[in-house]
Amino acid sequence: MNGTIIPRLFRERCNKICPNPKQFSKVIQEPLKPCIRINTNKISREEIISRLQKQKWQLKQVPFYENGFIIENASDDNRIGLTTEHFMGYLYMQEVVSLLPAVVLAPQKGEVVLDVCAAPGSKTTQLSQMMCNTGLIVANDNDFLRLKPLKYNIEKCGCLNVAITNVDGRVIKGQFNKILLDAPCSSEGQIRKDWKVLSRWSEDYMKSFSNLQKQLITHAFEILKPNGALVYSTCTFAPEENEEVVSYLLENFENARLEEIKLNDFKTSEGIAEWRGKKFSPEVKKCIRIWPHQNDTGGFFVAKIVKNEN
């Protein structure tokens, strides 16, 4: 990543909304530490921690999720992906920030949950274990080619409560207690993992997602049961794909309200209420932004929307 040219416009945009832009520019050029999720569908937390510690893996607890751990001593020659524990599906490699949406959604045992854009299944399999393999998760993805890795991960993680569908997220039918919409996006927050996101980056590319995201969030809200919760997340910094989308929903549905998101010992910034002269609903301040330099992670955006009964 070092030496990669960061587009001027991207830098300017981030500088306007990012706390401590200098630190941001430095951190996005550093690689991410690997993170694992313990798959409690297959093994207990205590047992796997004990096994990993015996093998001298240095684990650092992810503060907001008890089954998330950063691997402090991983290297090219020391990869946790090449352990029996990984082969057995006791562990799942998942970025710290990618653990957030399911934690914020907080699904309960026996509920019916929809994961609108599920492939490759990181969040689906996390939801499954959070629901103790009960109820039903509908793991949908409109891309047929992405169903294969989705199915593989569901099977590997022993998720018995997952149904797979291959439908355009704008026309899914059903009624759900909870919905996770981890929307397709321009992926700016993935820079530390894949610098190529910058080679695709342009304002037009970014804006092309915004319209689709508005359609997806609208339909997701329509098929949410009263008192149900919808989590909208992206791995991008662009306000057009984040606060603008959430604000659009709030403006169009009187019974949509945002909930505060509180995370223990994890730094976040509030949502941005204005961007390039466009004012969003002041409620969007309840959304959270995670900048890479705040917790040494990737970048992310999360909003939790609740559907009022009337």
Partner: protein
């Protein structure tokens, strides 16, 4: 996808074959629901079939539990979940053999182990009481997958996508 739950008789017939082969405790299956297609029996969480009836376009629910053939073959994914409850027809492998298995290679069991495995007598160590046919491959506390035992030869039945040719832990 039309999902038809197995009736009690079908469920009993399928489970009894696997319980007889591996001596699973029957209670292990209490939280599961089963349905079948032409070639496979599928397993999912209890209650999931009813919940999925309200969802259009379901392509998969849960995953494959066993495949029909001359004998019922239990799948790797299920063995990795419930294999620890099997008390018969498993083969405990050494670290070297476990590496071979995960790499996708067949295993030639050592002479002693082969003798013990094919003997099928209760007086042998519990970890060694396997007869020819489908067996569970066990390494320590981990049930790695399924093999087919024929004398001293253990054919590797790990699905292609799970094989790690350069595996070395």
């Amino acid at each position: 996808m039309k999902i038809e739950m197995l009736n009690l008789e079908q469920r009993e017939r399928i489970l009894s074959e696997l319980i007889e082969r591996f001596e699973f405790d029957k209670k292990v299956f209490d939280l599961f629901e089963f349905y079948r297609t032409k070639d496979n029996v599928y397993v999912c969480a209890k209650g999931a079939i009813d919940l999925a009836k309200g969802i259009a376009g379901v392509q998969d629910l849960g995953f494959a539990f066993a495949r029909f053939g001359v004998n019922l073959k239990i799948t790797t994914n299920i063995v990795q979940m419930i294999g620890r409850h099997a008390s018969k027809n498993f083969v405990s492998v050494s670290e070297k053999e476990a590496k071979q298995f995960i790499a996708g290679k067949d295993i030639e069991l050592s002479k002693d182990k082969a003798e013990q495995s094919s003997a099928n007598v209760a007086s042998q160590q519990q970890t060694e009481n396997a007869t020819n046919g489908f067996v569970i491959i066990r390494f320590g506390a981990d049930n790695l997958g399924v093999g087919f035992l024929r004398g001293p030869s253990l054919k590797n039945l790990l699905p292609g996508a799970k094989k790690l040719p350069t595996f070395d832990f």
